[in-house]
């Protein structure tokens, strides 16, 4: 068990170093760090001095380890636009993205599991079929189009909800939250639906197929034969066994929620990290891009690691096969 843990951890660290390498290569070789610090009239001597001072003449591996060391200490250099430290830019926008991601993940998980169970139990029913058809359309619609359509209906035509921004936010230390004001909560609704809809359909379809699979098994038949109520069969005996794969997939989806937040944040002008990144791509702000890549990389690696370990903890069969053969 300890061996597997160590191997998984080793893999995760290796991946992290590769992501850091790509991020370093972008930072160091795409766009020149010197050009953006000097004025256009700088002399060759000034350039050379600055290159020396920034350590650009050191061996590449030394620069790489310095880059990693700085990143571990949350120093990603300064943004090319406005010269603010990248770490400061990201940390001021992180709460907006995390609150959005959290809300839409919760929305997707709750509604997804509920509709998944419903469509499995009432298989072939009118409402169940309607939900399934709707979910097919939800999967085919590109995220940005969902956002635009929601804005059109709920912000332009009905004027119920705001179409951009976070509304009023409350400062709690360095964290700014939109959960505590009415306008903040109202602003959160449309972006969360936009971001969560795809995940919702995914979780729903998964819950449904797992539930149908479990309901076919013998122990469910025996539970019914024992005369247990439908309710008890569905929720006490069938549901817990469907939740294992659903939790893992939902966990894996957390990473893509953060990635797709880029799209949602642009549609709703949500002041989060994603909007920061897309602006960095547009204006070729290399330090911000490389820091974002590193951040997302760390996040993805940790999510995958956590899900892997969770799987090992839940499913003993996997543990045995891991011990006897390779993965």
């Amino acid at each position: 068990m300890v061996l597997i843990l160590l191997r998984r951890l080793g893999q995760a660290i290796l991946v992290l170093f590769i992501v850091a390498l790509i991020s370093f290569l972008i930072f160091r070789y795409v766009g020149s760090p010197v050009d953006n610090l000097l004025s256009q009239e700088a002399t060759v001597q000034q350039r050379a001095d600055l290159e020396e001072a920034l350590g650009l003449n050191d061996p590449v591996y030394e620069q790489y380890f310095r880059f990693v060391w700085n990143a571990v200490n949350f120093d990603f250099g300064n943004s090319y636009r406005g010269s603010l430290p990248v770490a400061e830019l990201i940390s001021s926008r992180l709460p907006a993205t995390l609150e959005l991601a959290f809300t839409s993940a919760l929305f997707a998980l709750l509604l997804g599991v509920i509709t998944g169970i419903y469509t499995a139990i009432r298989r072939g029913g009118l409402l169940a079929n309607l939900i399934l058809t709707l979910s097919l359309i939800g999967v085919s619609l590109p995220t940005f189009l969902i956002g635009v359509l929601l804005i059109w209906v709920f912000a332009v035509e009905l004027q119920w909800l705001p179409s951009f921004g976070r509304g009023e936010v409350v400062k709690l230390g360095w964290w700014s939250t939109g959960f505590l004001t009415l306008s903040g909560v109202k602003s959160l609704i449309l972006p969360s639906i936009t971001l969560g809809l795809y995940q919702l359909t995914l979780i729903m379809r998964l819950t449904r197929s797992e539930m149908l699979e479990v309901l076919r098994q013998d122990y469910v038949r025996f539970a019914r034969a024992l005369g247990l109520s439908q309710r008890s069969v569905y929720f006490k005996h069938a549901l817990p066994n469907t939740m294992i794969p659903v939790t893992t997939i939902a966990g894996l989806q957390l990473g893509s929620i953060v990635a797709f937040a880029i799209i949602t944040e642009t549609v709703f002008q949500w002041p989060g990290v994603g909007l920061l990144f897309i602006n960095a791509v547009y204006f070729v702000d290399i330090p911000v891009m490389s820091a974002y890549l590193l951040l997302v990389g760390v996040l993805f690696v940790f999510i995958n690691l956590a899900v892997d370990l969770l799987y090992l903890a839940i499913d003993p069969r996997l543990r045995d096969s891991q011990l006897s053969g390779d993965s």
Binding site: F144, V148, A259, V281, I286
Partner: protein, 301 residues
């Protein structure tokens, strides 16, 4: 050709309403894009033919100043929306198709090499594929797009935008091709005809290209169709976000981006028609791809 019409495949195709309908819609859209310059009443890229007085003409209504009628209306600069959509469709389809072609060539080659050579080369390619697959492909495409913009000199950025778009989407979608081809290559290379080819002294490259390649291409067509839908949506997304096709060469995504700006002032048609076109395109390519997969290679599901 006669054999094709008599085949099971064609029989099933004609009898599946979903397959037939989605294929016809795709065909219709592709043809309208190819013949855009013939069908379109105006050339939306020709600034001289635009009349600013025609700006914001609603669909099917004569313009109060010029009396011109546009059946899909016009945008803020008086550009006929129907023509803009035809040309936009052309760019969307072109970028999608080229990106898929790039992804397929790259994925098939790398998959072939990984599967046939094995060893450290296989390890290197597939581990890299694993790492790339951890990130959603749209994120990878955005990153490549940003890096490419950083490498290009500023004056070339808009000019090369379409090429950069194709490369970034293509590079973000190669992994499924490589994985499938690698798998079937590993099966094929154990067969007797490969042993025979080796015995008569053909080199590795000849064996891979002439003997294994034709036998592993079957699932590639299915993956390509499904990837085409993904690539079209990826292109539209990037262009919508403003990091794709520029306004001088608007794709459907760019048109939707422009349309969103006028939603609040009530000019709904600038958004609606491009959005519907994109939806019809993506949905029918998707449905046709699903049908093709179920038909040709149910294992891929």
């Amino acid at each position: 050709m006669k054999r094709f019409f008599a085949s099971d495949f064609f029989y099933d195709f004609v009898r599946s309403p979903v397959a037939l309908l989605s294929f016809l819609i795709v065909l219709f859209l592709v043809l309208s894009a190819v013949f855009a310059s013939v069908i379109a009443p105006t050339n939306p890229f020709d600034a001289a033919s635009l009349n600013l007085m025609n700006g914001f003409t609603p669909p099917m209504e004569p313009n109060p100043f010029t009396g011109d009628v546009f059946w899909m209306g016009t945008d803020d600069q008086g550009r006929d929306l129907f023509s803009a959509i035809l040309y936009g469709l052309r760019i969307s389809l072109f970028v999608g198709a080229m990106a898929v072609a790039l992804a397929a060539v790259m994925g098939v080659l790398l998959g072939l090499i990984a599967g046939y050579m094995g060893g450290w080369l296989d390890n290197l390619i597939m581990r890299f594929a694993d790492i790339q697959m951890t990130f959603p492909s749209i994120l990878v495409a955005m990153l490549i797009f940003g890096v490419a913009r950083g490498i290009l000199p500023p004056e070339l950025r808009d000019e090369m935008a379409i090429t950069v778009l194709i490369v970034s989407i293509g590079l973000s979608e190669w992994v499924p091709f490589a994985r499938t081809v690698r798998g079937s290559t590993m099966v094929e290379k154990e067969k007797e005809y490969i042993a025979a080819a080796r015995l008569i002294g053909l080199n590795r490259w000849q064996i891979m290209m002439r003997h294994i390649l034709p036998n592993v291409l079957n699932p590639v067509l299915v993956i390509a169709t499904i990837t085409l839908a993904l690539a079209i949506i990826a292109e539209a997304t990037l262009s919508f976000l403003g990091v794709g096709a520029p306004r001088t060469e608007p794709s459907l995504g760019t048109l939707i981006r422009v349309g969103q700006d006028f939603l609040f002032s009530g000019e709904w048609w600038i958004l609606l028609f491009p959005a519907c076109t994109l939806l019809a395109l993506a949905l029918s390519v998707n449905l046709f791809g699903d049908w093709l997969r179920d038909k040709l290679n149910p294992r891929l599901k």
